[in-house]
């Protein structure tokens, strides 16, 4: 099923407040989903007989921020963080990209991680992918059973894939620069 068909099914089921538009002119079009609705939408996508998205290929975060003041005008995005879900159906052989757009910091307080509900109860692998997105991009997945750092050491400070991340000068006596 193509993206327009999936989009109309989702709109019919969840309404325009939960599901955004799918008309982005892109190579891989995506559907934007409201953070609060992601678990129901994902469960519907996984279990509905027309869709059957049983395979979560990838889940990652992406930080949109331009730190160079000269380039901000050309950047073209409001600062925000995206969570990108790549789904596919091994049975029906179609795929879909979902996106959640959240502010870079919760309530615009630096250091307060944005909150997105966890889908780890739906796909087993989401557990690790969400841990990685938490570790590297700094997104708090609510309802995750074990939200710990996965690639960086447990006492690491900051989230390295944030655009304004500053590399530490020293870590346990090891010089960073």
């Amino acid at each position: 099923m193509d993206i327009q068909g999936i989009h109309s099914i989702l709109l019919e089921k969840f309404g325009a407040t939960a599901v955004g538009s799918a008309t982005h002119p892109a190579i891989d079009p995506w559907i934007q989903v409201e953070a609060s609705a992601i678990v129901e939408v994902a469960m519907f996508l996984r279990d509905d007989e027309r869709l059957l998205f049983n395979h979560l290929n990838d889940l990652c975060g992406c930080d949109y921020l331009e730190t160079d003041p000269k380039k901000v005008a050309k950047f073209g995005h409001e600062p925000h963080v995206e969570v990108v879900y790549q789904l596919s159906s091994l049975k029906l052989r179609h795929s879909l990209k979902l996106k959640i757009l959240v502010p870079r910091w919760k309530n615009d307080v630096p250091g307060e991680l944005p909150v997105v509900p966890s889908v780890s109860s739906l796909w087993g692998i989401a557990n690790w992918h969400e841990r990685e997105a938490y570790d590297l991009v700094g997104i708090h997945f609510e309802g995750h059973p074990n939200l710990r750092r996965i690639l960086c050491p447990e006492d690491w400070v900051g989230h390295p894939l944030r655009k304004d991340y500053v590399f530490p000068l020293e870590y346990h006596g090891v010089r960073g620069r």
Binding site: H55, C62, G76, C152
Partner: protein
């Protein structure tokens, strides 16, 4: 005289066991690199197996944000360092999809040839090291003898033996050489004169002819070996539902009976490469499996790899005449100062260990805004806790080895 036990409770107390935490790794020979498994054991039985990863984390995704795509190719080599060619191919295809570049026909067949040779080399290591995990040394030596010749051929093609950076955006860095000196190893194995010169494709054909009958020998040595079957059949059973839910891909998924291969079922930009090729997708169950084998066990995963080597040989054989017949250039030039469009792509390719995905976000500049490498082994190793419960401690290496993981790819 039979032994009398006066008070049975004494014996009961004596065999009572305590739970114990055992740290397996990160420096353990059978964890394939720096994987640390935290095992909660009761006596000899493992109740919980928690993998801890990240010891080889090199911030590959962050580095990608500060380099242009051709500059990033060498970093993809270092992800799955046993199949560098396939990693190069995955990232190149993702960037080509982003900028809408079309690779000339000669470049496509060159890529198929090289990628499938890489798959053979990678699966040979998988086979050899799995033998090591189970305590037999000789398959490892044979596998590395064969792999050595593939590495010699790659060295002739691009100059490197492990981190090739050969397949790049638009095609490859060089065309294949016309004529080479036959690699020393191949010369001595096939009884040819050292230093004799042959066309490159003839040397590949010579190698394949020599390799093909050897696969039967590996089956005798490992696959049909009673001890090997006892260690692998019925162990580490991964059901198809769990394999799909945990995002397992590649031989792990196909070993569980899900017939899915991106070379056949993937996106058009990838499947078009293999459109004119004739090959089978290998998936369990197997008709010729021993009685003890269960769908989705270690043996199935191993056997998928072995049969994929045969398919890869078929593909290379088909690629040689196609490559020779194709006219034109082997690459489309990617201008070093070109800008990436404001768009994003996600593309998965079938690397030897599973589906390797690259998510590239362009932002109108030379460097991408975000490079995400979705590793196949990352998903495959996440399953260990599920399939290692209730098995004896000695079977952990057999189960982890059957997943055929490479830590460089997991930690990136």
């Amino acid at each position: 005289m039979s032994m009398q036990i006066e008070d049975p409770r004494v014996v009961e107390f004596d065999v009572q066991t305590d739970e114990m935490l055992v740290n397996m790794g990160p420096q353990h020979p059978s964890t394939h690199g720096v994987l640390r498994l935290l095992l909660r054991t009761d006596g000899e039985i493992v109740h919980e197996c928690t993998p801890h990863i990240g010891y080889l984390h090199r911030s590959a995704e962050k580095i990608g944000e500060n380099l242009s795509p051709p500059q990033y190719i060498p970093y993809t080599d270092r992800m799955d360092y046993l199949a560098g060619m396939n990693m190069n191919l995955g990232f190149s295809l993702a960037v080509e999809k982003l900028i809408g570049m079309k690779v000339p026909e000669r470049g496509v067949h060159l890529r198929v040839l090289i990628a499938e040779l890489g798959r053979i080399a990678s699966h040979l290591v998988g086979m050899g090291t799995y033998g090591l995990d189970l305590g037999t040394f000789s398959p490892f030596l044979y596998a590395f003898r064969e792999r050595e010749i593939i590495l010699d051929l790659f060295e002739e093609a691009c100059g490197a033996r492990l981190t090739y950076s050969y397949l790049t955006v638009g095609g490859a860095t060089h065309d294949l050489p016309d004529e080479i000196e036959i690699p020393e190893g191949l010369a001595s194995l096939t009884g040819r004169v050292q230093g004799e010169r042959f066309p490159f494709t003839d040397v590949i054909e010579m190698f394949l002819q020599w390799l093909e009958p050897r696969i039967k020998e590996y089956h005798t040595l490992l696959t049909r070996n009673t001890i090997f079957i006892k260690r692998t059949a019925g162990q580490g059973v991964l059901t198809p539902e769990m394999a799909v839910s945990y995002g397992c891909t590649g031989p792990v998924l196909r070993g569980s009976g899900v017939n899915f291969d991106l070379r056949r079922d993937g996106e058009p930009i990838y499947t078009s490469m293999y459109k004119s090729y004739d090959f089978d997708v290998i998936a369990a169950p197997f008709k010729d499996a021993p009685r003890e084998v269960v769908l989705g066990d270690n043996w199935c995963r191993f056997y998928v790899r072995m049969l994929e080597v045969v398919q890869a040989i078929r593909l290379v054989r088909q690629a040689i005449p196609k490559y020779k017949a194709a006219t034109g250039s082997f690459r489309e030039v990617f201008k070093l100062n070109s800008k990436l469009p404001k768009d994003e792509v996600y593309l998965e390719t079938e690397a030897p260990r599973g589906q390797m995905g690259f998510y590239v976000v362009g932002n109108g500049e030379g460097n991408p805004l975000r490079v995400r490498a979705k590793s196949s082994c990352f998903c495959n190793v996440a399953i260990t806790d599920q399939i290692c419960q209730g098995v004896p401690l000695a079977d952990i290496p057999a189960i982890v080895g059957s997943l055929d993981i490479v830590m460089g790819e997991i930690d990136r």
